[in-house]
Structures are given as structure tokens and as C-alpha cells.
């Protein structure tokens, strides 16, 4: 008996159909699409321009205490340039770049990865509640494909948003590093792919068992901001207390952000970059495998 009706026997059939179903919800809904572009602009504007750390060291006039004998104009000028140099030195020392906006805009890329992937967990819960998951499970589409389509759609969305962020950041005055080449952008997408695959697999594994939308919401709001701030996305880890530094050292977002910075705004330190990629790569492989195995086991009760 022909059991397949001459249909495709590829193990991966349906992957693109399911992924595209998710993506369509996004790019076919103008409001959601525009909001997903506006969101990084807002964040960049608020965090990057409001927390104008560079301005702490410049701007404003201050009066020097009256010294006897008074400083001569050349001395004053010297002092002025000393302070100006100090500002550059401090910024360079702290952020490895003289422009905090550049530092932070790049941090936004990891931030987007985190916030976009967390929705992959929620869409699983919706599919379950609406019965679509069961429907898909009763078709010959592979269980792994069902899960991986969620991962893939979140990843593609994040990568698209990362691209938007880079464009916007450049428009807002991102200063690229001396070693920047167009190829670096590809590197950014590569690291984004890895981190998103890892993160969304993790979120899906956490939420696939829950039947109510509140569970992933709670999980996400518990994890997300701590994960974000216990990384180097907005502030260098070296000024953090020891315990926080330890957390940041294990946080894959730290390595993602560092990789993006190495590629875009720093003078690339290749050993450091290789380490970043290795760490995020291993994280992605382990978490994605765990996530997919756990979800798979759950789906074949």
C-alpha cells in the first residue's frame, strides 16, 4: 500500500511552511512590523542618548578655586586640555571606545536577541491552546521540525532587527572601529544566529509544558532583565562587584555583545573574538540540543 500518496519524504518538509507561518504574522501585520523597528530606535534613544556618559566629563563650566598666585593663561589652557584628555582616557579605559553611544548601541543587538527569542516560547503556548500544535502533531511533519520552525522564525526575526539596529546606529553616529570591514557585518549575523538558536530553544523548552500564557510571561520577566544587566551590554563588567562579574562571565550575552563590539567598534582582538564565538557556539549547541530533546520528549507523550 502506498502510504505517502507520492508526497515528499524529506525529513525536513514543512519546516519552511511552519517558519513562514510565524514570519507572516509579523511582516504581514504592518503595526507589529513597524513597532518591531521602532522598538530598538526607542531603546537606543533612551539608553544611548539619555545615559550620556561622555557628557559627565565635559560640558558645563566650573570655576577653579582661587589660587595664589593665579594660574597664568597658558597654565589654564594646559589644565583644560589635561581634563579633555582625561575624559578620553577614562572613556577609552572603561568602554574601550571614546563614544558611549557606540558602546551601548551594540549592546542593543544582544538585547534584541533576548527580547525577540522570548516570544518564541509564548507562541508555542498559543499554538497549544488554540489546538494548532495538536493539529500539526497529527500530520507527518516531524516533531523536531515543529520545534525548530519556532527557533528559526525567532532567529530570523532577531537577525533582521539586528540589521535594522546597525543601520539606525550608524545613522545616529555609530563610530566603527579601525578594523571594521563589510565582512564584520556577516560576523555579527553569525553570532546572532548562534545566540538566538540557543536562547529560543531554551525558552521553548521552558514553556512547552505550560498551558497558560502567564507562565512564560512570568519566566521571561524573571530572567530577562537580570540576564541583560548581568552582562556587558550596557556597562563594562570590570566595574561590577565580584559576584556579579562571576555571573557575567558565564552569561552568553556577555560574549555575544563582546563579539559584536570586537567586530564593529573595537580594534578587533582576534583571540578574544575566537573565544566569544567558541563560547556562544558551545552554548547554542548544548542548549539547542537540550531544548529540542526535552520538547521532543514532551511532544511524544
Amino acid at each position: 500500500m502506498s502510504s505517502t500518496n507520492g508526497n515528499s519524504k524529506s525529513k525536513l518538509h514543512g519546516l519552511w511552511a511552519l517558519t513562514n507561518r510565524e514570519l507572516k504574522k509579523w511582516y504581514k501585520a504592518p503595526v507589529i512590523f513597524i513597532l518591531s523597528i521602532v522598538q530598538p530606535i526607542l531603546w537606543m534613544g533612551l539608553l544611548g542618548k539619555a545615559m550620556n556618559i561622555g557628557a559627565l566629563f565635559s560640558g558645563g563650566t566650573f570655576t577653579l578655586p582661587q589660587l595664589t598666585p593665579p594660574l597664568t593663561p597658558p597654565q589654564l589652557q594646559q589644565l583644560g586640555s589635561y581634563f579633555a584628555g582625561l575624559q578620553t582616557n577614562i572613556l577609552q579605559g572603561a568602554f574601550n571606545t571614546t563614544d558611549y553611544f557606540s558602546f551601548m548601541a551594540v549592546g542593543m543587538i544582544a538585547f534584541t536577541a533576548l527580547f525577540t527569542t522570548m516570544f518564541s516560547g509564548m507562541s508555542v503556548v498559543w499554538d497549544r491552546r488554540l489546538g494548532f500544535l495538536n493539529k500539526a502533531l497529527s500530520t507527518p511533519v516531524s516533531r523536531a521540525v515543529i520545534i525548530f520552525s519556532k527557533v528559526l522564525s525567532a532567529t530570523l526575526r532577531s537577525m533582521f532587527q539586528a540589521g535594522i539596529i546597525i543601520v539606525i546606529a550608524v545613522a545616529f553616529g555609530l563610530q566603527v572601529g579601525a578594523t571594521f570591514t563589510p565582512l564584520s557585518i556577516l560576523g555579527v549575523f553569525a553570532i546572532m544566529f548562534l545566540i538566538c538558536v540557543g536562547l529560543s530553544s531554551a525558552f521553548i523548552a521552558i514553556t512547552i509544558r505550560s498551558t497558560r500564557i502567564e507562565t512564560p510571561m512570568a519566566v521571561v520577566s524573571l530572567i530577562n532583565l537580570p540576564l541583560m544587566f548581568a552582562s556587558n551590554a550596557f556597562f563594562p563588567t570590570k566595574f561590577m562587584p565580584d559576584w556579579l562579574q562571576t555571573i557575567a562571565r558565564f552569561n552568553p550575552l556577555t560574549y555575544t555583545t563582546d563579539a559584536v563590539r570586537q567586530l564593529l567598534i573595537f580594534n578587533t582582538d582576534w583571540t578574544q573574538l575566537a573565544m566569544d564565538f567558541t563560547y556562544v557556539g558551545i552554548f547554542a549547541v548544548i542548549v539547542a540540543t537540550m531544548g529540542i530533546v526535552l520538547s521532543w520528549r514532551f511532544l511524544s507523550r
Binding site: N5, A17, R129, N134, S138, P140, S300
Partner: protein, 333 residues
């Protein structure tokens, strides 16, 4: 030819090690019939269907669909069955046609074949005019028909329908029944459905299994089941004051006679055939029949007889409750 399309042997599902949802269920579904699972919410209907469509793995026992074992050859089963779930699973943000094509992709049907089939199916369920409209704008009946089209995209040999008319109004429900009958008649399809509507089981199913607390209580055609109760109820009044119970009892097919406020309540098989004989017998003895009524037992009486209770709404899980509420809400749009 009697060929079992579906066959179960001691099929059992236990949730969380103690909640027995389906308890050693045995039944066979023959080619070309509409087989119905009738029972209250929480009786184990959906759990059974979910095992047969390979979403759930049985804890114990075996089942096969078209000869494929549901646990060992689940991929083969998935290829030859169609499923119309209880919920409205069509994606609201996509159009009718996009939804059917998405289902086709899940079966790995090549695009050109899928498009042709999708158009045919949309025509079958009379949604051709709405194929490019988003499902958001669909009414409950339209959504149900769209689900039907999706369930048929792989040309299944057996179609599973879980509560196919849940939440639909009477008119839409009857229309849905017509589509289901058409599938049986014109495509010779075998259909397995669950329902908790007695009228639906009665109107649609060739055979019905009454299920309660995870166990099958009785299986048979609606007619058989109703007859198994001992037949129809004939109520007769006569002008005269004499007791004619014995006379009535002597008529063929009469099973029992009771007097009730001057009238006779007669339990008889094939009531519509027996009643004229009773009148005839009474007239021969010079009695005049003044009043006669005939009541056929409904599946409700069958249900009462076998389960000892009326079809009730049982407590059920939060998830199932939510899903049903959601379905009903969308059905009423």
C-alpha cells in the same frame, strides 16, 4: 467485505500514573461507516481520538488504523488519516486558501498538486468566494468547513472528527452534517467522530459506542440501541371501562403493558407496526380506541438506561475547558 479500518485491543491511557482516561477499550470500525463515540465531556472521547491520530501514546493496549500500528508505525498512520480537531486551528492571520496550503505543506504535498486540491476542497465546502479573506472574518460554520477542507487535503482514507459541531447553531449544525454525509456517500470515506450531542450521534452515525468514565458501555447502531431498550412506547385509551391488559399483551411484539390513569402504557418493539395490530385486536373484541400516541425512544433513553444518568457536563481540566470555551466563542462570531 467487512474490513476493519480501525481496531483497538485493550487501548488504555493513564495520565500522571493514576488518572485513567481511557480504560481497556475494544472496538472495530468498518470500512465506509460513520462510527461515533458518544459520551459526556471528560468521558475519554478526545483522549481516544488523540491516541488514534498518534498525538498521544497509549499506556497499554494496541490499536491500528488501516493496518498500521499507532505506536510503531505512527508516521504511516499520519499519512493516511485526516483530522478535524475540536478547536478551530486555522490561523486567523492567514486567508482561507493560505491555511489549506499550510496544511498541504505539513503533508509534504507538492505545491502544484496542493493548489489544485485546495481549490477543489474549498469548492466542496463552499468557501471558494472567501478563499482570499482572512480567517478572522469567518463565521463559526465557515471555520468548521475550513477545518474540514484542511483535514481532507491529503486525501485521507479515514477522517477523524472531534466534536464536529461544538458550539454551532442548529442550522449550521445540520449543514455540517450534510457535508459529513456527503464524504461518506460520495467518497466512500470511513469516518470516526466524537460527540456529546445525542441528536448528532442519532442523525449521523451508522454505529455508536457509548463511553463513560473511559469505558465503552455499549456499541451498536442507534436503531439497535434504541430497540435494545425493549422498543417504543405506545399509549392507548379506550372508551370502555374493562381491563384489556391481557388482550393487548397477546398481540405480537408487545413486551409489557402498564395501566396509568385509565390509559395503557405499552412497551412494544417496532411500535409503528405493532400499534395497528393492537387497535385491530381491540376492535375485534368490541372496544373503541379513543386516543393513541407513539413515542420512539431516543438515544437519551438509551444513555439513561446504560449509564444510569443523563448526559451530564462533568468536571474537566482547565485546559480542556478553556479550549472548548474558545471554540464556542469563535463559533458564535
Amino acid at each position: 467485505m467487512s474490513e476493519d479500518i480501525i481496531k483497538t485491543e485493550g487501548l488504555t491511557k493513564v495520565f500522571n500514573k493514576h488518572l485513567v482516561a481511557v480504560d481497556h477499550v475494544n472496538f472495530e470500525v468498518e470500512r465506509g461507516e460513520i462510527f461515533g463515540f458518544l459520551g459526556p465531556n471528560g468521558a475519554g472521547k478526545t483522549t481516544t481520538i488523540n491516541m488514534l491520530i498518534t498525538i498521544l501514546k497509549p499506556t497499554e493496549g494496541k490499536a491500528s488504523v488501516l493496518g498500521f500500528d499507532i505506536a510503531e508505525q505512527d508516521d504511516n498512520v499520519r499519512n493516511v488519516i485526516g483530522v478535524v480537531p475540536q478547536e478551530y486551528t486555522a490561523d486567523e492571520d492567514l486567508t482561507g486558501l493560505e491555511n489549506v496550503l499550510l496544511c498541504a505543506d505539513l503533508y509534504g504535498i507538492p505545491r502544484n498538486v496542493a493548489k489544485e486540491r485546495a481549490m477543489d476542497l474549498l469548492k466542496l465546502v463552499e468557501l471558494t468566494d472567501f478563499k482570499d479573506k482572512k480567517v478572522q472574518t469567518f463565521s463559526g460554520g465557515m471555520r468548521r468547513r475550513l477545518e474540514l477542507a484542511c483535514g481532507l487535503i491529503n486525501r485521507p482514507k479515514v477522517l477523524f472528527l472531534d466534536e464536529p459541531t461544538l458550539g454551532l447553531d442548529v442550522q449550521t449544525r445540520t449543514a455540517t452534517w450534510d457535508y459529513i454525509r456527503k464524504l461518506k456517500k460520495e467518497y466512500g470515506m470511513t469516518l470516526f467522530m466524537t460527540t456529546h450531542y445525542l441528536e448528532e450521534a442519532d442523525a449521523l452515525c451508522d454505529r455508536v459506542a457509548i463511553i463513560d468514565h473511559g469505558k465503552i458501555i455499549v456499541v451498536g447502531s442507534p436503531e439497535e440501541l434504541k430497540h435494545s431498550l425493549g422498543g417504543d412506547i405506545i399509549t392507548i385509551s379506550i372508551k370502555e371501562d374493562t381491563d384489556v391488559s391481557e388482550l393487548i399483551r397477546s398481540v405480537e411484539h408487545v413486551k409489557d403493558v402498564k395501566t396509568e390513569d385509565g390509559s395503557y402504557r405499552i412497551k412494544a418493539e417496532y411500535g409503528e407496526v405493532t400499534a395497528p395490530f393492537i387497535i385491530e385486536a381491540l376492535r375485534k373484541k368490541g372496544h373503541t380506541v379513543t386516543k393513541l400516541s407513539l413515542t420512539e425512544p431516543t438515544l437519551n433513553e438509551v444513555y439513561l438506561e446504560y449509564t444510569g444518568k443523563s448526559l451530564r457536563d462533568a468536571e474537566e481540566s482547565r485546559e480542556a475547558f478553556f479550549a472548548q470555551r474558545m471554540t464556542m466563542r469563535r463559533a458564535r462570531q
